[in-house]
Amino acid sequence: MKGFKWLTPTLYILFLMLPIYWLISMSFKTTNEILGHFSLWPQEFTLDNYVKIFTDPTWYNGYFNSITYVVINTLISVSVALPAAYAFSRYRFLGDKHLFFWLLTNRMAPAAVFALPFFQLYSAVGLFDTPWAVALAHCLFNIPLAVWILEGFMSGVPKELDETAFVDGYSFWRFFTKIFLPTIAAGIGVAMFFCFMFSWVELLLAKTLTSVAAKPIAATMTRTASTAGYELGLLAAAGTLTIIPGAIVIWFVRNNIAKGFALGRV
């Protein structure tokens, strides 16, 4: 038994990696090969799918649009959440615990609930089909999440640190930017990561609130299937490229991610 300790995790990881491998493998196949016969790896290796994505504006604009609203959303969420989280972690005020919990309950409603009101509201104020529409809509989920994560990290910093700085003569803003933010840098990284991920993978609102100009890649991917027949290779290539930004961001916060999942409370 002892010699086979590696077996279970290996099988498990193979099982997890299989769909990703299949996706990547498909992205290098022609659509004919994919539909024609079963093959474990590309028989006629081709980069055409990727070339098409990087040259056709309807494709690469999808990525550009997605990245735009994701970045806007991440920046808004974290910069709004920072002062809120500081207040929750440092001050006691009337109803603070209820408000804090209520923030999280926002995440419990399905996105579909908000799709209609957002669609109508943004159409009315002229935000429809802009990156701001999606970025702002995603704030509904991401700000509470960022507040929770940051509050956890901030509460891990003793209040005495703030006081020592004030005693030393630091003004509040100087302390906040020069000492406090660097101290919770890991927490900010984790909060940004989670905002990025949730905004990046969210499809329903992103699709509902855009049509042409700000169309996200996820929408492009799912629509192409119906317009030009089956372009499975192309879709697989787009899928592969969609995984990459997330993987890069994960790499940056890999050491703090577990703490992030525990909302900073480890």
Partner: protein, 355 residues
């Protein structure tokens, strides 16, 4: 600078953290706030620092009312029990930070930081980050930051409590010297009576938000105003019992009695409370002025060359501290010798008699 609390009260919700307090700390003195946890030491420090506002009363520095002055402008420094340093700055930058905030010229900063680092033996650590230091070094860094500033008032909130024994002794010895040179008024909060005695200076005893006594440390130890101060300033805790004075005798019980000294010659007959410090109740007779009581051992704690024995005497548990190792088992009968010339007597209101 001199610090004065005038009728200061601190309430938090319905709770009173500090009852009306009047206290004057003279310039350049080493002051100790002595009290158990939750006695209000930290709150008093925070009131002086301006981290908290008194609910009533005023705080004066150098004869000026600073009650409304924000903490940044009070020219003081503070060291906490937890090792608080700026985690994103090197030790050098940590120590330099109060000077940088005050816009001190760079050359002077370097000179002052180096000097303080030298004093606190942090020279080789200056380039490291705080989390790469041992606990003792981290606390030294925090103290260096408090020292470099030339603040008129230095507040130390149990700064040695989280350090190991050896380091605590070392730093405790250095502390009064360090701050003596700077000429700052120091307020040092501690829970340990022994620490207060070792540090000397002046002591303020605190009990549940009340200042019970303020004065020279040795004086308070020898002559506590009242039983509370004596209790705060005794570790292991002081023993108390009722005694009845009849003419020239004090009667602890029908059998146990001793002659009152001259100091109490004029004391009226009646019932009083007597206090014995544990090291004045011994397992061996030390000199003539002792009386003997019988009891059964509850528990014995032996620490190196001293034995602390808890003994049940007629239903009261007394604590005695004797030199040498006395291996007494629970339930053993033992004789205790009380040095009656060291007894403290308190009246009905528990104030010391015979000052």
């Amino acid at each position: 600078m001199s610090v004065e609390l005038k009728n200061v009260t601190k309430l938090s919700g319905a709770e009173t953290h500090i009852y009306e307090t009047n206290l004057r700390l003279e310039e350049g003195e080493f002051n100790i706030l002595l009290g158990t946890t939750l006695s209000g030491k930290t709150t008093l420090l925070r009131l002086m620092a301006g981290l908290e506002k008194p609910s009533m009363g005023e705080v004066w520095f150098n004869g000026e009312d600073v009650t409304g002055v924000p903490v940044q402008k009070r020219n003081l420094s503070m060291v906490y029990q937890q090792f608080i340093n700026y985690p994103n700055m090197s030790v050098y930058e940590n120590i330099a930070s109060p000077l940088r905030v005050a816009r001190t010229p760079a050359a002077e900063i370097k000179q002052r930081v180096d000097k303080v680092a030298e004093l606190l033996k942090l020279g080789p650590m200056l380039k490291r980050m705080p989390n790469e230091l041992s606990g003792g070094q981290q606390q030294r860094t925090a103290m260096a930051r408090a020292l470099v500033k030339d603040a008129g008032l230095v507040l130390l909130d149990e700064p040695l409590a989280n350090l190991d024994y050896k380091l605590r002794e070392e730093l405790r010895e250095e502390l009064p010297k360090l701050f003596k040179e700077s000429g700052a008024t120091v307020v040092y909060a501690t829970t340990e009576p022994i620490e207060a005695l070792l540090l000397g200076g002046h002591t303020t005893t605190l009990h549940e938000g009340n200042v019970t006594q303020h004065g020279a440390t040795a004086e308070i130890y020898r002559k506590p105003h009242d039983l509370l101060s004596a209790q705060v300033f005794s570790d292991p805790p002081i023993n108390t019992a009722k005694v009845t004075k009849k003419k020239e005798w004090f009667f602890l019980s029908d059998k146990v009695r001793w002659l009152a000294d001259d100091r109490y010659a004029n004391l009226e007959d009646g019932v009083y409370t007597v206090g014995f410090r544990p090291h004045h109740i011994n397992l061996m007779a030390k000199h003539d002025q002792t009386v003997t009581v019988q009891g059964s051992v509850v528990i014995t704690e032996i620490s190196g060359s001293e034995s602390v024995v808890h003994i049940d005497v007629d239903g009261d548990t007394w604590v005695s501290l004797s030199h040498g190792i006395h291996r007494l088992e629970a339930g053993d009968e033992a004789e205790l010798y009380i040095q009656t010339d060291r007894c403290l007597y308190f009246d009905e209101a528990l104030r010391l008699i015979g000052d």
